[in-house]
């Protein structure tokens, strides 16, 4: 009896359609992905059952670190440039075009106006190394009020979102809430991460 020879089929499979699809998806994700500048502070937002998704544009984000330092961030490069120009006028500091560009290209910032020029003079690496003290928000010296006011002046559709760390103490949170009240921002959003165990 002769042995049955296994049918020899070619081990190569035509991968072209799969590769096409893979690259299509890669291209799609690459184009839709947005790389944000690195945040100067890591924040763990509290969880909630809320399902509302924050719009991407026209958002003023107030980030609160564990220690209660407030960082401000406005979406959109042109809006940021406008904001720093306005703030400079308000505080009598004239920023050069280069400094404005630098501010516009950055991320959240928590530098008092007095030190802003000095901070913007640094290069990116040095900026990262700086421990940002937070925007002054005490009643004696409240720059946060001006930031919010100026940001809203330069963009009337601006929404305010608060991104606080879980462990921020309430008195610090309250200062921010009071400031918002003072600037007549009575509707705002609290950023939370989705609850996953319920």
């Amino acid at each position: 009896m002769g042995k049955v020879k296994p049918h020899r089929s070619s081990p190569t499979i035509d991968m072209t359609p799969m590769v096409d699809l893979a690259f299509l998806l890669v291209t799609f994700f690459m184009l839709t992905a947005k790389f944000r500048p690195e945040e100067p502070v890591q924040v763990t937002t509290p969880k909630s059952n809320s399902q509302i998704i924050i719009p991407e544009n026209d958002v003023l984000t107030l980030t609160m670190s564990k220690e209660g330092a407030v960082y401000i961030d406005v979406s959109g490069k042109s809006a940021r440039k406008q904001l720093i120009t306005n703030m400079g006028e308000k505080y009598g500091i004239s920023f050069t075009e280069e400094e404005k560009e630098k501010f516009a290209g950055g991320s959240s910032i928590a530098i008092p106006m007095g030190n802003m020029k000095q901070f913007l003079a640094l290069d990116l690496k040095a900026q990262k190394a700086v421990k940002q003290p937070g925007i002054p928000k005490d009643t004696a010296q409240n720059e946060l009020v001006d930031w919010i006011k100026q940001a809203r002046l330069s963009n009337t559709r601006l929404r305010v979102a608060i991104k606080g760390d879980e462990n921020t103490k309430f008195p610090e949170v309250n200062k921010v809430l009071k400031t918002l009240q003072e600037t007549n921002v009575t509707v705002f959003n609290l950023l939370t991460s989705p609850e996953n165990d319920k």
Binding site: A22, L25, V26, I53, F170
Partner: protein, 186 residues
């Protein structure tokens, strides 16, 4: 047999046909596919991770000149947010009935639901549902506030107010802590 097309800019070869070499047209695509999928995985993971949710809240305007509303004390529940994720709560305006709760489903959520049904049974109309005062003490943190606001949403309480704790509230907690501490000490 065909002529080899000259690459961009190159001149024509003079006469003579060149035989094209017979080469396999198959290229091993495996490394390329590996890379493609690696990138794909990377982008898929980085894009889906980034989805913050948000809750919208409203605070009263600063110069709110409207008349203070009178609320029946039996409709009121006061929550004091303390340290170590504790909630102290009392119904009505008598702080002597202060009790402790936590942020779990069986904790504050149950209490709120029970009180809501109780108040609804008492007044029996939607206009006069439960009113919750939320007073975070200085020791509480942001998470506590968000949790309790979330709880308001889950239990579907529409009438609540976030307000500052007064010195009186702090005293109440201190008294409570003192009274609770006493039985524990031998």
């Amino acid at each position: 047999m065909g002529e080899i097309a000259a690459g961009g800019g190159g001149g024509h070869k003079k006469g003579g046909k060149v035989r094209s070499k017979k080469m396999s047209t198959r290229i091993d695509m495996t490394p390329m596919v590996d890379l493609a999928f690696l990138l794909l995985t990377f982008f898929v993971l980085t894009t889906t991770m980034n989805k913050p949710k948000t809750m919208e809240i409203r605070i009263p305007e600063k110069d709110d000149n409207s008349e203070p509303i009178d609320i029946n004390e039996r409709r009121v529940v006061t929550l004091l947010l303390g340290d170590n994720d504790k909630i102290y709560w009392y119904p009505g305006i008598n702080p002597a009935t202060l009790q402790e709760a936590n942020y779990s489903k069986s904790g504050i959520r149950k209490i709120l639901q029970e009180n809501e049904t109780k108040i609804n049974a008492l007044f029996g109309n939607k206009e006069q549902s439960m009113f919750v005062f939320i007073k975070p003490l200085d020791e509480s943190n942001y998470k506590n506030v968000v949790d309790i606001l979330d709880e308001m949403k889950v239990v579907d309480i529409t009438k609540y107010a976030l307000m500052e704790a007064t010195g009186q509230d702090k005293n109440i907690i201190q008294q409570y802590a003192a009274s609770m501490g006493a039985p524990n000490t031998p």
